[in-house]
Structures are given as structure tokens and as C-alpha cells.
């Protein structure tokens, strides 16, 4: 039976064009109407070391990067060695050989092996060693029914400005890969993409990081300042290109402290403002986040998590910045933390982040992660006219002689904020404890009252913002709570487990802090046991849940720099329900 759901992993040396060829076939597939879902890892070094691109494609919907791979394309021996233990019966090994490359495959019983001499063809026949990746694309497309015409169309578009010669070489490389397969290889595997859905004009293929940038633009961000850091830099790159088109300002600052300082100043001046970073940068921002919190300055910090601590595994995936996002920073410091689940979410939660920041006048940390940031998905074209944007509660001077109370104790504890330039609204924002009129006040009563204000304004956030989504059985034997980008794997595992007749449910909180305690308590009550899978050592979310609600959970933690395979979660579900 043909399998219309293929996971292709391409592995080779950083610098061999693995990533760019992956992007091209992904784009072409999406353009042709397929669903696509990618996953990439880079070495932390520029050169040398293993790079990997994985594409899952199907004519049906896809929720995660899947389990392992169906097809492994080995560009070199290193990549083969890294992946060979995952070659299971029924999977395909497509390798650079039998001559020209450096691979000598062992015997893998049950594995379908196809040799395509990509290096030789590129070097000897094309005289263009760099076109090896295109030879591979030609072979892949032919073998597994990827849309080879769209592929060529995109190559023409992409390389067009480099000149006709470059286009021609790449197209010829694809054709030679195709011809080689047609002449020499007999297909033995079941993987073959089905008929793509009627081309949906309203699809874009975009990475998580780019979607954050797009969300910021949709939210009408006006100011962005950041310092480059893997895996967050693409947010800055996206905005560097596009924010000035819409009249906004982007700054590459001298470090993360400066970038958050810039953002604080810009927001004080009235602009919707944002920065983006990863763990080490977030750590550096800790002090100034406290200033934004006490001075009640709205801003958004997108934090794309990577393997920690310290420099850690800069190009790998981890969900281990939750603790510091929620608890980092001296003193009792209020803040909001959101976590994104998938690429579409990257867009929408960035909009939400701005809305919440502006509404509550508070710093909002948006937690994304490396695998989500880099991976691309095809998502619906966002329609900004459907978005509800929340604006700050502005102070409008009434013209009297009254002193402006920047931190007025209003009913909802959010105080009207004055925009510099207007008479009657003058005030000095300060990190010192202050009174309703923004001046230092050191009395016990005032400190107590102002701390209560800064936390109290968030008291109803769970009701005011619908921060969770539930799916699955009503009275389930097991309930999974999953945060961040682990969601896709959980959805897929849940579907499989329910298809097996297991009673399982899942809750996906988008708001991490303040924790949606009511929804979580309700969910926990509705299920027999709670399972929290996450990619960190300390069970950071499970600990937060127990701290805030007392609810115990079965913890399932991995921390190897990779996302959860849905099969592992599926197995865990079975293990917990039927021990």
C-alpha cells in the first residue's frame, strides 16, 4: 500500500547545501499543495560537523516532525554513521554511491538501499561539485513523487538573479538525478506522495522565527532592538528587512542589556516595542526586566530557547528557560510568560503578547524554541483585519492643576499612561518604589500596596484571555498537559492512542505565567492521572504546576537536544494507562 506521508531526512556536512536544498524542496512541495513540516539541526560551528534537514510531507495534515525517518539521504559517511542505528526494517537508505562518495554501507537487513552517485555526477558529469544537493533533490523527487516541476520553477525563481548559467546547472543537476534513478533504480518502498489538495492560494511557508516577526508586524510593532544570537537571529533578520518598510525602526544593539534598554525607552516614548533573544541573552536582560516590571512599561521579549545552561548546545532544542522566564530576576517581579506551540501559533501568540503587554503594562516573555524557530510549516495566510489589537490605556490630561498619577490605583489596577510630549502628563518613571504619583516613596504601606497593584492587575488574566485548549476524551484515564512545541507530538500521539481505544485527553496552555490554575485544576479533576512531558531535566513546568496548584503529575523528561518523537509519547501513554 502506498504511504502518503513521508519523512525524509537529509544528513551531511555543514556547508554542503543541505539546508538550502531542504528549503527548496519544502517550498516546492507546499506550493504544489502538499502539507509540509520541517526540522533542522546545525552544528554549533560554522563548518565541519553534522548538519541535518528533515522534511515531512503529505497530502494530509501533519502535526509533528514524526518518529525518526522513513527515508534517510546520506551525503557523507559521518552523516551515515550518526544515523545508521535508526535504519529500521522498511526504511529507505538513499546514499551517495556506489562510487564518488565516502560511504560504505553495512548490511541493514530489511532496509531498502538505493545508491545514487551524487558526488560523482556533480563533479564529473556536471563539473559543478556544489550541485550535489540538486542531484539529490532530483533523485528524491523521482523516487517519492515530489513535485519536480514546481521544484524547477522555484529554482528558476530563486537563482534567477544569479544568472541563467546558475539556473541551468541546477536544473540539469535535478534532471540528472532523475535520470539516474529512472535508469538504475527499481523502487521497492511504499512511500509516494498522494494527489495534492486543490492548491490553496492562501498558504505561506514560513519558519517559526519568521512567523514571530510577521506576528509583530501584524501587531503593529514600531520599534525592535536586538543582539544576534542563535537560534533567535532570524527574528531580527526578518524584521530588519521588513520593519523599515512599514516605517518602524530596527536597531542592532551592542548587547542584550542595551537592546532591552532601547526597548524600554521606546515603549516609554509610546511605541510598541520588542526584542528577541535566546537563553544567554535573557539571562543578561534579567535586571532590566525588573525595571520594566516595576515601572509598568509594556514590552515583548521573544526568547527562542536552546540547549543550556550557559552556551550549552546553541543549535539544539530544549524547553529549559521556563524557570528563569517565570522566576528570574531579583525581588517580587510581576511578568507574563507565554509559550508557542507551532508555527501558526508563533504568529498569533506574538500578537497576543503585544496585546497583553499593552493591556497590562507589563513585560511579556514569549517562549519559543530552536526547533520551532528553524522549522518551516505551511500555514494559512494571516489576515490582519481579523486581529483584535489592544492599545494602551493612555492618559488624557484634563487640563486641571492636578498632579498626574502615573500609578493611580484604578479599579483594574492598570493606570493610564502618559505619552511624553503632552502637557500635564509629565512624570519620571523609576525603578525605585514609588507612590501613585511617580516619586520615590519608602513607607511600608506604599510598598505593600504597590506590589499588590503590580500582581493584582493580573488577577483575572485567565478569564480575560482564553489561554488553554483541551482535546480528547471527557473522562480520560490519562490527561496530558503539554506546553510549548511539544504539543505537535502530543497531538499525534493522542490521536494514535485514541484510535487504539485508549481514553486520553490533553490540555495545551499557552499562558504559562500567571498559570491558568482554574483550567488546569478542572482538567486534572477530569482525568485519572496527569502526565507532563517536557524537554528539560528539572520538570520545570510540572514543578510550576505543583507549586501553584499542588497538583502532582507523572513526569516525562528528555533532555538530549532533540524534540519528542510522537511515538515515544504514544508509548508512554500506553505504559501509564496499562502498566
Amino acid at each position: 500500500m502506498a504511504r502518503d506521508d513521508v519523512i525524509i531526512r537529509i544528513g551531511g556536512e555543514g556547508g554542503e547545501g543541505i539546508i538550502s536544498s531542504g528549503d527548496i524542496i519544502t517550498g516546492a512541495s507546499a506550493k504544489a499543495g502538499f502539507h509540509v513540516y520541517t526540522f533542522k539541526t546545525f552544528p554549533a560551528e560554522i563548518r565541519g560537523g553534522y548538519a541535518m534537514y528533515q522534511l515531512r510531507a503529505s497530502s494530509k495534515q501533519i502535526l509533528s516532525q514524526g518518529d525518526g525517518f522513513d527515508v534517510f539521504v546520506a551525503f557523507n559517511n559521518d552523516a551515515y554513521q550518526v544515523n545508521k542505528k535508526e535504519l529500521k526494517p522498511g526504511t529507505v537508505l538513499l546514499w551517495d554511491g556506489p562510487e564518488g562518495g565516502d560511504i560504505q554501507p553495512e548490511s541493514h537487513p530489511g532496509v531498502i538501499s538505493y545508491a545514487v552517485p551524487m558526488t560523482r555526477i556533480a563533479k564529473d558529469e556536471l563539473k559543478a561539485p556544489k550541485a550535489k544537493n540538486m542531484v539529490a533533490l532530483g533523485a528524491i523527487s523521482t523516487l517519492f513523487s515530489f513535485p519536480i516541476e514546481t521544484l524547477k520553477e522555484n529554482i528558476r525563481l530563486k537563482f534567477g538573479k544569479k544568472g541563467q548559467e546558475v539556473v541551468d546547472i541546477n536544473i540539469r543537476a535535478i534532471d540528472m538525478g532523475k535520470e539516474y534513478v529512472e535508469k538504475n533504480i527499481k523502487k521497492q518502498d511504499p512511500y509516494r506522495l498522494g494527489e495534492p489538495q486543490a492548491k490553496d492560494k492562501d498558504v505561506i511557508v514560513i519558519s517559526g522565527n519568521e512567523a514571530v516577526g510577521l506576528g509583530a508586524l501584524a501587531a503593529k510593532v514600531e520599534f525592535f532592538s536586538a543582539y544576534p544570537i542563535t537560534p533567535a537571529t532570524e527574528i531580527a533578520i526578518m524584521l530588519a528587512r521588513n520593519l523599515p518598510k512599514l516605517g518602524g525602526t530596527l536597531v542592532q544593539a551592542e548587547d542584550e542589556i542595551a537592546s532591552l534598554g532601547n526597548v524600554i525607552g521606546a515603549s516609554y516614548a509610546g511605541a510598541k516595542s520588542m526584542t528577541a533573544t535566546s537563553g544567554p541573552g535573557l539571562s543578561l536582560m534579567t535586571e532590566l526586566l525588573g525595571l520594566a516590571s516595576i515601572a509598568e512599561i509594556p514590552l515583548v521579549v521573544a526568547n527562542v530557547q536552546r540547549g543550556g545552561p550557559s552556551t550549552g548546545l546553541p543549535t539544539k532544542h530544549e524547553q529549559s528557560d521556563l524557570f528563569t522566564a517565570v522566576y528570574g530576576g531579583h525581588g517580587d517581579m510581576s511578568r507574563i510568560v507565554l509559550a508557542v506551540d507551532n508555527v501558526e501559533d508563533c504568529f498569533h501568540l506574538t500578537v497576543d503578547a503585544f496585546n497583553l503587554a499593552e493591556k497590562y503594562q507589563i513585560p511579556v516573555i514569549l517562549l519559543s524554541d530552536g526547533s520551532l524557530g528553524f522549522r518551516t510549516e505551511g500555514i494559512k495566510v494571516p489576515d490582519p483585519s481579523t486581529l483584535k489589537l489592544i492599545d494602551r490605556k493612555w492618559f488624557e490630561p484634563k487640563g486641571g492643576e492636578e498632579v498626574y498619577k502615573r500609578y493611580e490605583y484604578t479599579k483594574d489596577l492598570v493606570s493610564p499612561m502618559s505619552k511624553p510630549g503632552q502637557p500635564g502628563g509629565n512624570y519620571v518613571a523609576t525603578g525605585l518604589e514609588h507612590g501613585e504619583v511617580s516619586r520615590p516613596v519608602y513607607t511600608p504601606e506604599n510598598h505593600t500596596r504597590m506590589i499588590d497593584k503590580r500582581f493584582g492587575k493580573l488577577a483575572n488574566i485567565e478569564d480575560e484571555y482564553k489561554p488553554t485548549e483541551r482535546e480528547g476524551d471527557e473522562n480520560a484515564d490519562l490527561g496530558i498537559i503539554s506546553w510549548g512545541s511539544t504539543q505537535g507530538a502530543v497531538r499525534e500521539a493522542l490521536a494514535r492512542a485514541r484510535a487504539d481505544g485508549l481514553k486520553v485527553a490533553a490540555l495545551y496552555p499557552k499562558l504559562i505565567f500567571p498559570l491558568p490554575e482554574k483550567a488546569i485544576a478542572k482538567f486534572a479533576k477530569s482525568v485519572k492521572k496527569v502526565l507532563i512531558p517536557e524537554i528539560n531535566k528539572q520538570a520545570q513546568f510540572a514543578e510550576l504546576v505543583r507549586a501553584r496548584t499542588g497538583i502532582d503529575s507523572i513526569r516525562y523528561n528528555i533532555y538530549g537536544g532533540l524534540p519528542f518523537p510522537p511515538g515515544d509519547i504514544y508509548n508512554k501513554i500506553k505504559e501509564v494507562i496499562r502498566p
Binding site: V205, L214, V251, G265, Y268, G421, Y427, A429, R439
Partner: protein, 286 residues
């Protein structure tokens, strides 16, 4: 804003300065009031940004908008204010420690960017607010609570630093000469781009060495014939030959401000799309 000219006192906020009697910063504050009134600056359209320190309490005492940020972070925040709303006048104020110790990493970058703000440092060669430890401008050998056997560090030279950092206006004044300070602040405020004003401002409470008395014979104006367009010469003078403290404008140049360059970027960028947000979305169609 009333059309009538504002008096220095009109810039006074209702918060009385918390400085010790005799603090050099009073002179700076009064000079600023004066400079503002002479320029008839709209206090509603002005933001004073500071870090943490005695001198960094400055914004509270002026009837403008203000931000009293964290220690060392006046410049990044001030820059954010200015870039988000170029219509605002932005002044940053602070101490020697705030500016050249913990905040020292930010100075080169705002200078090279030439962001249009005026940065006023009150240099008392001591950490005042934390009650008397050596600051980066303290003399070598200075005895303070953390250097009971004398400081082993040579002092930094903020003037020379800002000159090689590319500041486009660099001046020095002395709190004992408030008229000159007012004049320098005026020039700094009128300068297009980043202006740095170093003010020698004694702390009689914790620095018993660098007092008004001690400065009396050290302070002198820059030579009459000083050419403020000659950068190497300005650096040479800033390197302090003869141990004198020379006041006046060391350097000034006419260089596009950061805002001008950002505006250029925006106009370049806007050529790439006519369709606004939708045009950007189109970039991601497969």
C-alpha cells in the same frame, strides 16, 4: 505650551533635590534650568534619562518627562526614547561610575551611532550614593572605603574616550563655573547628533581630595585659539598635559545623525514593497 519665554524657575519640579549641602550637582541643575530657559525649551517635549547615583536623581528635579533607569543604563534607554519619537528632546544625566564603570560599554556605541541626545556626566571622582568608594575617575592612590591602602587603578579619561568613540560634540565644564556650564549645555542641546558634556562636580561629603578648593588652581579654559574641528589635537588636550582641567568645547563636527541614517533606510526599504503588510506576507508564498 505658553508662548511666553520660560524662566529658569519654571523648569523646577516640585521635588526638592536630595543632595548634600555643598554638592556640586546643584550648580549643574541650576545651569540646566538656565540653559533650558534660554533655549525656551518645551518641558513637555523633553525627556531626561538617568541611571542610578546621586547625580542620577536629576530627572526628579526637573519639570520635564523623565526616566530614572537602572545603574549604568541611561544611554540605551535614552536612545530608545529618541528613536521611538525623534520629536522629543532627550538628555541623559549621570555620574562617573554610572557612565564609565558599569555603563561604560554603552558609550562607544551611542557615540558612533551619533544619536541626537545630550549626555551630561557629573564627575565627582567617587561613588556618592553608595557612600564613598573609588570611581573610575578617581585618582590612583585614592583612599576610600574599598581602597583603604590607596586605589591601584589609573583613572579613565571620559573626554578622550568620547572623542575617539566618535562623539560629534565634546565639552567640559566645572560646577564652580555654572555660567559656562549653562553655555555648554545650550550648545550641546543645539548640536545635531550626540553631544557629550563632562562636568567636574565635587562631592564634598565623600571625596575630600577633589574639592572646589583643590580645583581652583587646576581649572582653566581651553586655549583661545583651540580649533574644535581638529580631532587629534582635541584628544591631545584631553589627555591632560600638565594636569590641568581645561573647560570649553573640545570638538565639534557636522555628521549625519543616526535618525538621518535610519530615515534613509526607511526610504530605501519602502521601495521594496508597495503593499505594506500584505506585500510582506507575499514574500513567504512558496
Amino acid at each position: 505650551m505658553t508662548a511666553q519665554a520660560l524662566q529658569p524657575k519654571d523648569y523646577k519640579s516640585v521635588v526638592p533635590p536630595t543632595w548634600c549641602a555643598g554638592c556640586g550637582d546643584y550648580g549643574v541643575l541650576n545651569s540646566l534650568y538656565k540653559a533650558f530657559s534660554e533655549l525656551n525649551i518645551d518641558y513637555n517635549n523633553t525627556v531626561i534619562v538617568s541611571g542610578i547615583g546621586c547625580s542620577s536623581r536629576f530627572p526628579f528635579f526637573v519639570k520635564t518627562y523623565g526616566i530614572h533607569t537602572a545603574h549604568g543604563r541611561a544611554l540605551p534607554v535614552a536612545m530608545g526614547v529618541k528613536l521611538a519619537n525623534p520629536e522629543l528632546r532627550v538628555v541623559a544625566t549621570g555620574g562617573d561610575g554610572d557612565g564609565f564603570s558599569i555603563g561604560g560599554g554603552h558609550v562607544p556605541h551611542i557615540c558612533r551611532k551619533n544619536v541626537d541626545i545630550t549626555y551630561i556626566i557629573m564627575d565627582n571622582r567617587i561613588y556618592g550614593l553608595t557612600k564613598g568608594q573609588v570611581s573610575p575617575t578617581s585618582d590612583m592612590g585614592m583612599v576610600s572605603s574599598t581602597t583603604p591602602y590607596g586605589s591601584p587603578d589609573r583613572p579613565v579619561n571620559p573626554l578622550a574616550f568620547c572623542l575617539v568613540y566618535g562623539a560629534t560634540f565634546v565639552a567640559q565644564g566645572y560646577s564652580g563655573n555654572p555660567k559656562e556650564i549653562a553655555a555648554l549645555i545650550k550648545q550641546g542641546m543645539e548640536h545635531k547628533g550626540f553631544s557629550y558634556i563632562n562636568l567636574v562636580s565635587p562631592c564634598p561629603t565623600f571625596n575630600k581630595t577633589n574639592t572646589f578648593q583643590a580645583y581652583k588652581d587646576l581649572v582653566e579654559p581651553l586655549p583661545d585659539d583651540h580649533d574644535r574641528t581638529n580631532l587629534p589635537r582635541a584628544v591631545e588636550l584631553a589627555l591632560n598635559p600638565g594636569g590641568k582641567i581645561r573647560t570649553g568645547v573640545y570638538f565639534e563636527s557636522d555628521t549625519p545623525s543616526y535618525q538621518e541614517r535610519l530615515d534613509e533606510i526607511k526610504s530605501k526599504a519602502s521601495k521594496f514593497t508597495a503593499a505594506g503588510f500584505a506585500g510582506i506576507v507575499d514574500l513567504y508564498r512558496p
